[in-house]
């Protein structure tokens, strides 16, 4: 018994010790591994000893996990989730005013400084020109409601993705229930947002409703038939933010990372490398990438706080629209 316990204890100590030494700041992130690696490199530049360890997953999954772990938080910082989703989780956030926050437009700062915008998603139409088969590329949301796009447009189930929720919510607010029904008639609905841009890139569908940064990766990667269309009747914005986890075990390091993520250097780098449109007002997007400046786009304004309150209602309306589309 004794020998066994001793060996077990020794083994546990050795094994956990090895893991603990390298532990510096634990990031819970829904971002892709490249963006995470780039953020980690940016932190290393400022704090050479820092190591970012990431746990990745969907935004909702990770936020639920943070809530479940609140008595004994495993993570220190969360990056990044949509504003609509974040507003519902303020209980697990540690408010913080970063010295970098001055450069951020106040509309991208959460209530009581509990969270802050790191980047803004712009909703786009991702077009695969090879799959257009003679049709002219759509220019507006209204174009997609025409019957010739039946079965050629792919979007994510709004119940499964925060950005898809904004897209469908925007369509409802801009075009009403009838517009929603006309989109539902043409759309193929998939279960994850990744599936939309992957399947458009793969040529399964001609058009996908997705976010700018994901679609632009394929343009920047050199896939020539992929084009981005910013709907001329007004696109929707989805700011994304981060927060410090309340009770974080490595709070000082987490704050360092928070400042680094908001800094001009990092936001420019994440724009250049990962096409994240910055929330800072002092960065000119069109000078660094071939993406247009936000000011040049027509935006249909949405209130995401209200949108979150109307979540159930929207999902119900969308499912109704889909059911109606199936019958016709």
């Amino acid at each position: 018994m004794n020998l066994f316990k001793k060996t077990l204890l020794a083994l546990t100590l050795v094994l956990t010790g090895a893991a603990a030494l390298a532990q510096n700041v634990v990031l819970y992130s829904s971002n892709n591994p490249e963006a995470i690696a780039n953020a980690g490199a940016a932190l290393k530049k400022k704090v050479p000893k820092a190591v970012v360890q990431s746990v990745t997953g969907g935004t909702g999954t990770l936020l639920k996990r943070i809530q479940a772990e609140s008595a004994n938080p495993g993570g220190d910082i969360f990056w990044s989730g949509g504003f609509g989703t974040l507003s519902a989780f303020q209980g697990v956030m540690e408010p913080y005013v970063s010295p970098e926050a001055k450069a951020i437009d106040p509309k991208f700062v959460g209530p009581k400084n509990s969270y802050i915008g790191t980047n803004v998603h712009v909703m786009v139409l991702m077009v695969n020109e090879r799959q257009l088969k003679g049709l002219a590329a759509p220019k507006t949301w209204a174009d997609l409601m025409k019957p010739e796009w039946k079965g050629k447009v792919v979007l994510t189930d709004p119940a499964r993705s925060g950005t898809a929720f904004i897209q469908v919510y925007g369509l409802l607010k801009q075009f009403g229930r009838e517009g929603l029904e006309r989109i539902a008639r043409n759309a193929v609905v998939v279960q994850s947002s990744g599936q939309v841009y992957k399947s458009v890139a793969a040529g399964e569908y001609a058009v996908g409703i997705t976010i700018e940064s994901s679609a632009y990766e394929f343009v920047a990667g050199g896939q020539k038939e992929i084009k981005l269309v910013y709907p001329a009747d007004g696109t929707y914005l989805g700011p994304e933010g981060m927060f410090l986890i309340k009770g974080a075990k490595r709070m000082a390091e987490a704050k360092q990372f928070y400042d680094v993520l908001l800094s001009k250097d990092t936001q420019e780098m994440l724009l250049r490398e990962n096409f994240r449109r910055p929330t800072r007002s002092d960065i000119a997007v069109s000078k660094i990438t071939s993406m247009p400046d936000l000011a040049s786009l027509k935006v249909f304004p949405l209130n995401l706080q209200v949108a979150t309150d109307e979540y159930e209602q929207l999902i119900a309306l969308w499912n109704l629209a889909l059911a109606k589309a199936k019958q016709s």
Binding site: M1, L3, F4, L11, T12, L15, T16, A18, A19, A22, Q23, V26, L27, N32, P33, E34, A37, Q53, S54, V55, T56, G57, G58, G60, T61, K64, R65, Q67, A68, E69, G74, G75, G194, K198, S199, A201, A202, G203, E204, E217, F218, A220, G221, G222, Q223
Partner: protein, 552 residues
């Protein structure tokens, strides 16, 4: 009391007890916790509500049905492929046979996550071949779903049937066939009525192994499954999305998976016990040389099959050295960027894999040798218990094992989640039954008399074990260790459930990169992983003069 003291005498009684304790804590207890969790009702009492909910949810019910259908389909295909292949190899000589006969074995050590990724790169929606065909204007059916699942799994698992049937054919008494022929039966009828029935047990046993492997398969199921819901994938996503939440549903799905696998294993045991065929050894008919054109046909056929099943090895290296910009692969353009990134910028998964797999190899092999020695050579009243406990991990798929361990060791007196210990633990537990089986078969061949001689000369039992038994077992121990290494380092399904920050391994990194569409970096980790598996598997047996896969 004295009897008990003698019975527990150092070393064997105590060691048996210790091994039992280890297995009880790390294997039996987690399954117990899982089962209890599946039976928890809303009011804290026990109920079948979890199972009722599973069966009432169309998605889960469909997943269970699909899993059984898939396992049956893949099993059928592997039998259809493996049996003729074994027959051709055992009974005929054709050009290049010496090489072609061994190569399918390599499929056993190719990580499934790499197989999945490779077929995705070649035949997936944006795959090399799919795009080529699409450019030619040909319609390309989707590879995701049933097509991809059955295709890729058949190519991974046919080896089990092949090796099993090959062994049976080599032990087959050729005089039985001669007797049948001389009594006037046609060669076809002889094959059908004499050869086939005697091979049936070997086919059935290995077919059921394939069945259980498909039920537990996670890597290929989740990467190529597309819109087809499957049990292992549904259980995993339920676990991922319900961390910290109500574990009843995930436990119920897990228990259903255990029941499926355990049923298959019981059928297997029944089949083995009921239909044993005793053969006079050493009378297998010699292989016939074939006429030139027939030999050519066999060579081409077998080569095609072997090439298809080894394609992932090629694809992963090509992918690793192909230029990748974000999610876009530029086939035909070479680049070292992905390799550089995996090896020097983000090498943590490589170090983690090396550390966990090395520890698991040492601990797992030692435990397997000790346990099999206790079962085979030091029989006591506890031996049957130990014997039974060791095979329990066979009934649990990786995903289920991961969930059971997390549920048992997330809170309470022994917290293991978040530590490297739990990673090593899943590796050891998953491989233990195979390690014990290998070591036992070796031990049965070592006469007890040499030990008795040593002990009667005054050497202590423990020293006898170390100085007499272990040296004789050296070959078996090394081959068990090499196989333990190869299979641990490619483990995905359980480790992806239990891992946390800083514990990412190569298979997990590959899985994550593929999920976000980064095939270049995934290939780079894949190339590193395959190298770390193949080098020891190819080099060590030569150096140590051992036979890793007793093919002959």
């Amino acid at each position: 009391m004295r009897a008990l003291a003698r019975w527990l005498a150092w070393p064997w009684g105590l060691l048996t007890l210790l091994c039992l304790l280890v297995l009880a804590v790390f294997v039996v207890l987690p399954i117990g916790v899982l089962t209890l969790n599946s039976l928890k009702g809303a009011d804290g009492g026990y109920s079948l509500a979890g199972f009722a909910k599973v069966l009432a949810t169309p998605e889960y019910l469909q997943a269970i049905i699909n899993t059984v259908l898939l396992a049956s389909a893949v099993t059928t295909c592997t039998v259809a492929l493996g049996v003729p292949l074994a027959y051709v190899v055992a009974r005929h000589d054709f050009p290049l046979k010496r090489w072609l006969a061994v190569l399918p074995v390599a499929t056993i050590v190719i990580p499934e996550v790499i197989v999945g990724q490779s077929w995705l790169m070649v035949l997936g929606n944006n795959g090399l071949v799919s795009n080529f065909l699409r450019d030619l204007g040909l319609p390309v059916p989707s590879f995701y779903g049933w097509t991809g699942l059955i295709f890729s799994m058949t190519l991974v698992y046919y080896t089990y049937i092949y090796l099993g049937v090959l062994a049976a054919l080599r032990g087959f008494d050729g005089q039985l066939e001669e007797a049948s022929l001389s009594l006037g039966a046609t060669p076809a009828a002889t094959r059908w009525r004499v050869l086939l029935p005697t091979l049936a047990p070997a086919v059935l046993v290995n077919a059921l192994v394939v069945f259980t492997l498909v039920v537990g398969n996670f890597a290929l199921s989740s990467m190529l499954g597309g819109q087809v819901p499957l049990l292992s994938v549904q259980t995993y996503s339920l676990f991922v999305s319900e961390v910290g939440g109500d574990p009843v549903l995930q436990s119920s799905l897990s228990v259903i998976s255990i029941i499926l696998v355990a049923t298959a294993l019981l059928v297997q045991k029944w089949a083995v016990e009921r239909r044993q065929v005793h053969m006079t050894p050493g009378r297998a008919p010699a292989a016939q040389a074939l006429r030139s054109w027939q030999g050519g046909v066999f060579t081409v056929g077998v080569t095609a099959l072997v090439a298809l099943s080894l394609m992932p090895l090629v694809a992963v290296f090509v992918g690793a050295f192909t230029e990748a910009r974000g999610p876009v692969m530029h086939w035909g353009k070479a680049s070292l960027r992905s390799m550089e990134r995996a090896l020097s910028l983000e090498p943590e998964p490589i170090f983690n894999s090396l550390f966990f797999a090395a520890t698991a190899t040492v601990v797992g092999t030692a435990l397997a040798v000790l346990v099999s020695y206790l079962i085979v050579k030091k029989k006591s009243r506890l031996s049957p218990l130990l014997d039974a406990a060791v095979v329990v991990p066979l009934t649990i798929s990786g995903t289920v094992l991961g969930i059971a361990l997390v549920q048992s060791f997330n809170t309470g007196p022994l917290v293991l989640t978040g530590t490297a210990f739990i990673m090593v633990l899943v590796y050891v537990v998953r491989r233990l039954p195979f390690g014990v089986r290998n070591a036992s078969s070796m031990l049965y061949n070592i006469p007890t008399s040499i030990e008795e001689a040593s002990i009667s000369l005054g050497v202590t039992p423990l020293r006898t074990f170390v100085q007499v038994v272990l040296p004789v077992m050296k070959g078996a121990i090394f081959s068990a260790a090499i196989l333990m290494w190869a299979t641990s380092i490619s483990e995905l399904s359980a480790s992806v459930v239990v891992y946390s920050a800083g514990l990412e391994t190569m298979p997990i990194a590959i899985f994550r990169q593929v999920d976000t569409g980064r095939l270049g970096l995934a290939s780079a980790y894949g190339a590193a992983l395959v190298t770390l598996i193949l080098v020891p598997v190819l080099v060590l047996p030569k150096l140590l003069r051992i036979n890793l896969f007793s093919l002959k």
